[in-house]
C-alpha cells in the first residue's frame, strides 16, 4: 500500500463526528429520484404523474445518452414531478407502497461477470440505473463505455469530512464489493483503491481481503481522499487525465445489483449537526430530508457536504450521489467590531485570530464572515490548493477571457474541493468561477 502525500489542505479539527453505530430507518411515505445533483445531465422525463412504477423502473433518462436510465427507488405512484429554474427537471416523487415489487434481471455470479461480454455488462448496468456511478475525469460526467481508461480509481470515502465510514458500508457486502471489483477489472487493468488512514481499521475489521486490495492510503487531511486530488497525486502521463472513478457505495450497489438481479435500494447516510452525535443510518435511496433530520433548526442550512455539495431545501430528497447531510448553523449576521475581536472561537488558516494558538474542534457556521473585495494577490488560495493550482491567477486569466492561459495553468486539474473559496480573505467565489469555467469548456468541446 502506498501512502499518498499531501502538503496542502484543510487540517483543522471539526466537531460533530457521527457515531459509528448504524440505525435502520423505516420506509418513508415518499421517495424521490433527484436530477439536481447529477452533473451535466439533460434529463428527459419518462413517466407521468399518477403512473404506477415498480422499484427499478426508469423514471427519467439523459437526453445525451438515452440508454442511461435513472430508476425508481421504490414501488408506488408518481406523486409529483418537480421542476426547477427554466423548467429543468429536479425531482420525481413516488408515493410509496409498503410492499416492494422489483423489475427483475437475471442474476449473475462472480464467474458470470468475468465471462459476460463487455457490451452486455454495460447495457445491463445502464438499464439497471447504476452505470452513472462510474464518473469520468476531468469533467466528472458519466463514464464513456467506448473509452478504455488507463486507470480506475475506487474511493472508499465520500466527499465530506464526515461521510459514511467504509467499514459500515462494507458490512455484509463483501461479496458485492468483490463483484463490483470484477466489473471494474473488465474495463481497465489498473485499479487504484484509495482509503483514508482513519478508515483502514474499520475496513480491516470487516474483511482483511478487502483491506489487502487497498492500494493507496490518504492522510486525514481534507481533500486528500477526493478522487480529483488522488488522481493528481498518482497520475504520471496525460493518458490518465480521462481516468474513471467510482465511490465505494456505488461499487457495492453495482455488485449487489448484478448478484441479485434487483435494483439495490439501500444506502448509508450520515447526519452531522452541531452539538449532537447521530449514528450512521441505513435508509432507502431517495429518502426525504424531513424523514432524516426531523424538524429543521430555524437558523441553519442543510447541505450535502461542507466544502462541496449543494444546499437541500426543506422538502428535498437525497440524491443518488449524496450520502452526507450537514446541518450548519448561521453565525451572527452582523457582529459588532467583528474584524477587531481576538477570536478565540474563530477557526482560520491564517494566524490572525487567537484560535490559531489552540488546537480545539472548530465550530463552523455557514456565513461569509466579511464582504467581497478585489483580489489582493495574497496567495492564500495557492497555499491551500491540494492540486498545486494558483486559483487567483486562473481566475484572472478567465476574467480576461484567456481560456488557453487558464488551461495551461491547470484549470482542468481542479478537484472542486472548495478550499480556495474557503480560504480567500477577499471572499471571492473562486471555486464557483473555476468550476463553471471547467463545465463551460467541457460543454463547448462536446
Amino acid at each position: 500500500m502506498k501512502i499518498l502525500k499531501i502538503s496542502r489542505g484543510f487540517d483543522l479539527n471539526v466537531a460533530e463526528q457521527p457515531d459509528l453505530n448504524c440505525a435502520q430507518l423505516a420506509l418513508p411515505s415518499s421517495l424521490g429520484c433527484c436530477a439536481g445533483d447529477i452533473p451535466h445531465i439533460r434529463p428527459k422525463l419518462l413517466v407521468k404523474e399518477g403512473q404506477r412504477v415498480k422499484t427499478g423502473d426508469a423514471l427519467f433518462t439523459d437526453k445525451r445518452d438515452t440508454t442511461i436510465q435513472y430508476v425508481s427507488p421504490g414501488t408506488g405512484q408518481v406523486e409529483k414531478v418537480i421542476y426547477g429554474h427554466r423548467r429543468r427537471l429536479m425531482e420525481v416523487v413516488i408515493a410509496t407502497e409498503s410492499e416492494d415489487e422489483y423489475v427483475e434481471y437475471d442474476p449473475v455470479d462472480l464467474d458470470g461477470i468475468i465471462d459476460m461480454p463487455r457490451d452486455a455488462l454495460v447495457t445491463v448496468l445502464k438499464k439497471g440505473g447504476l452505470w452513472q456511478g462510474l464518473r469520468q475525469f476531468p469533467a466528472l460526467d458519466f463514464a464513456d463505455p467506448d473509452h478504455s481508461p488507463a486507470l480506475i480509481i475506487v474511493v472508499m470515502d465520500g466527499n465530506d469530512i464526515f461521510s459514511p465510514r467504509p467499514g459500515i458500508i462494507l458490512k455484509d457486502n463483501i461479496t458485492a464489493f468483490e463483484a463490483g471489483m470484477a466489473v471494474l477489472r473488465r474495463f481497465s487493468n489498473r485499479l487504484a483503491v484509495v482509503c483514508r488512514k482513519s478508515s483502514l481499521e474499520g475496513i480491516r475489521e470487516q474483511s482483511s481481503s478487502v483491506a489487502d486490495q487497498i492500494t493507496h492510503a490518504a492522510p486525514d487531511i481534507y481533500p486528500a481522499w477526493l478522487p480529483g486530488a488522488v488522481l493528481y497525486q498518482i497520475k504520471q502521463q496525460a493518458a490518465e487525465n480521462s481516468t474513471w472513478y467510482i465511490r465505494l457505495d456505488h461499487l457495492v450497489m453495482m455488485g449487489r445489483f448484478l448478484l441479485s438481479g434487483r435494483y439495490p435500494v439501500e444506502k448509508i447516510v450520515t447526519i452531522t449537526r452541531p452539538g449532537e452525535q447521530h449514528p450512521h443510518m441505513r435508509v432507502r435511496q431517495g429518502m426525504p430530508l424531513s424523514a432524516l433530520i426531523g424538524a429543521m433548526p430555524g437558523n441553519s442550512i442543510v447541505t450535502t457536504g461542507r466544502f462541496n455539495g449543494r444546499v437541500l431545501e426543506k422538502d428535498a430528497h437525497i440524491g443518488f450521489f449524496e450520502n452526507t447531510v450537514n446541518i450548519i448553523e448561521t453565525g451572527p449576521e452582523e457582529e459588532m467590531f467583528g474584524f477587531a475581536r481576538p477570536g478565540l472561537d474563530k477557526p482560520t488558516l491564517s494566524s490572525t485570530f487567537l484560535s490559531s494558538l489552540f488546537r480545539r474542534p472548530a465550530n463552523m457556521d455557514c456565513t461569509l464572515h466579511g464582504e467581497t473585495r478585489a483580489c489582493i494577490n495574497c496567495s492564500y488560495c495557492e497555499r491551500i490548493c491540494p492540486n498545486d493550482l494558483m486559483p487567483s491567477f486562473i481566475m484572472k486569466a478567465l476574467h480576461a477571457g484567456e481560456l488557453e492561459d487558464a488551461l495551461a495553468l491547470g484549470l482542468m486539474d481542479c478537484c472542486r474541493c472548495g478550499l480556495c473559496s474557503f480560504a480567500c480573505p477577499s471572499k471571492i467565489e473562486l471555486t464557483r468561477i473555476l468550476s463553471d469555467a471547467m463545465d463551460a469548456y467541457y460543454k463547448d468541446k462536446q
Partner: protein, 387 residues
C-alpha cells in the same frame, strides 16, 4: 435591548439604499456601517463554511504592526527636536512635541486620502476598500517631520489617484500607492525631502545638522564607520532609532518587531522580507570586499546598511504589499532579493539619491508582473497537460 448604534444605521438605511434620497452616497454609509458591524451573509454556493479572516482584519493587522513604528516615530521626532534645541526633554515632552509635528501629517494624509477614496467609490459605485487604512498611515511615516502639510495633501492625492485609482482601484495597481506619493514629493519638492529637513523645530545648537546617516561620508581618508561614529550615528543608535530621519524609518528594532507580527500572522509573505534582507546582506558584503572606497558607503558593511536609512521599513511594510509584489513564491524571493541588491547599489553608486529603498521597491514593482509571468510559464511547463 437593541444596540443604539445599530438603531442609527437601521434608521438611516432607507435614505442610502434602494430608492433612497442619498443612494449615491451608499459607499460612505456602507463603509461606516461595516466598520462597526461586520456583515456576514449566508453562503449559497459551495463551500458552505468560510474562513474568518476578511480584508478588514487583514488590513487591521498591518495597521497594528505599524503601531510600534508610529509611536516610536512620534517620540523620536520630539526627542530630536529636543536635541536640536540643545535641551534634554523628559519622555512626555518628547511625545507631546513629536505628536504636534506628526499627528497633523497623519490626519491630513488620512483625511485627503479618504476624500479621494470616497469620491472614486461614489463615482464607480464600489465599496470602499480597506487597503487605504494602510496606505494612509504608511505614507506619513515615510516623510520628514518638517514637511509642509500642503505637500502631504498633494503627495497622498498623487499616490491614491495615479498610484492606484487610475488602474482601477485596490487590487489592480502596479505600484505601491504610498511610495508613489512619496516619490512624487521626492522629485517635485526636493528641498522639502532632502538635506537638513529631518529634525523638527529650530536648530539652536551648532553641529546638529538634521541630515540622515546616509548622507554622511568620510572626508580626508577617514573611514565611513569612523565618520558615522563622529557624526553621532553609532550602530547601536541606528538600530534603536534615536537618529534623525523620516518619521517611521529610524528604528530598525521597531521595524523588525512589525515585520515579526506580519510574518507570524502570515499577513505579509516572509519570502519578500527574508529575501530582501538576504539580498542586502550579500550585496553589501560583496561591495565591502571590493578594495577602495574607504570613505564611502561601499565600505559600510551589512549591519550599517541594514540599520541606516529606510531599508527595514521599506522591506517590511512597503515591499510586502501583496498587490504590487509578485503573486508567486519564487517570484517573491527574487523580488525581495532584487530590492536588497538594488538598495545597496543605489546607495553606493548614486550619492544623489542616497535613500535607495524607495527607488528599488518602485523599480521592482514594475518588474513584479514579469517575474510572475516567468514563474507561471515555468510551472505550467512542469504540469502534465490536461486539455
Amino acid at each position: 435591548m437593541k444596540n443604539p448604534l445599530k438603531k442609527i444605521f437601521d434608521d438611516t438605511k432607507p435614505f442610502f439604499t434602494g430608492d433612497g434620497k442619498y443612494k449615491k452616497y451608499e459607499p460612505i454609509w456602507d463603509a461606516t456601517k461595516t466598520f462597526f458591524f461586520l456583515p456576514s451573509q449566508k453562503n449559497s454556493f459551495m463551500p458552505f463554511v468560510r474562513d474568518h479572516l476578511d480584508l478588514k482584519r487583514y488590513m487591521s493587522i498591518v495597521v497594528l504592526s505599524l503601531l510600534p513604528v508610529t509611536f516610536f516615530g512620534i517620540y523620536n521626532t520630539g526627542y530630536q527636536a529636543g536635541i536640536g534645541a540643545g535641551e534634554s526633554w523628559p519622555v512626555t515632552q518628547c511625545f507631546l512635541v513629536g505628536a504636534c509635528y506628526v499627528l497633523p501629517i497623519i490626519i491630513v494624509s488620512y483625511a485627503v486620502g479618504f476624500a479621494w477614496e470616497f469620491l472614486f467609490a461614489v463615482i464607480r459605485g464600489h465599496n470602499i476598500s480597506e487597503g487605504f487604512l494602510v496606505t494612509g498611515l504608511l505614507f506619513p511615516l515615510t516623510l520628514p517631520p518638517t514637511i509642509p502639510l500642503w505637500q502631504v495633501a498633494l503627495g497622498i492625492s498623487f499616490g491614491v489617484i495615479i498610484g492606484k485609482e487610475v488602474f482601477g482601484g485596490t487590487g489592480r495597481n502596479i505600484l505601491n500607492p504610498a511610495l508613489t506619493g512619496r516619490a512624487f514629493l521626492f522629485f517635485s519638492y526636493p528641498v522639502s525631502m532632502s538635506g537638513d529637513v529631518w529634525v523638527a523645530g529650530k536648530h539652536l545648537v551648532d553641529g546638529v545638522t538634521g541630515a540622515t546617516a546616509l548622507s554622511v561620508t568620510g572626508a580626508g581618508g577617514q573611514s565611513i564607520t569612523a565618520a558615522l561614529g563622529d557624526a553621532g550615528y553609532s550602530l547601536g543608535q541606528l538600530f534603536t532609532g534615536f537618529v534623525p530621519g523620516s518619521v517611521g524609518e529610524t528604528s530598525a528594532l521597531c521595524c523588525l518587531f512589525g515585520a515579526a507580527i506580519l510574518m507570524v500572522t502570515r499577513i505579509a509573505n516572509y519570502r519578500v522580507i527574508i529575501g530582501g534582507i538576504a539580498g542586502l546582506v550579500i550585496t553589501s558584503v560583496i561591495v565591502y570586499l571590493i578594495p577602495g572606497g574607504q570613505e564611502s558607503w561601499s565600505n559600510a558593511g551589512p549591519l550599517y546598511h541594514l540599520c541606516a536609512g529606510g531599508f527595514l521599513f521599506g522591506i517590511s511594510f512597503m515591499a510586502t504589499d501583496p498587490v504590487s509584489a509578485p503573486g508567486t513564491n519564487p517570484g517573491r524571493w527574487i523580488f525581495g532579493a532584487a530590492i536588497g541588491f538594488l538598495t545597496v547599489i543605489i546607495r553606493v553608486g548614486n550619492p544623489a539619491f542616497m535613500e535607495g529603498v524607495m527607488l528599488a521597491i518602485l523599480f521592482m514593482n514594475v518588474f513584479a508582473p514579469l517575474l510572475d509571468h516567468l514563474v507561471l510559464k515555468y510551472k505550467s511547463s512542469k504540469r502534465i497537460p490536461n486539455v
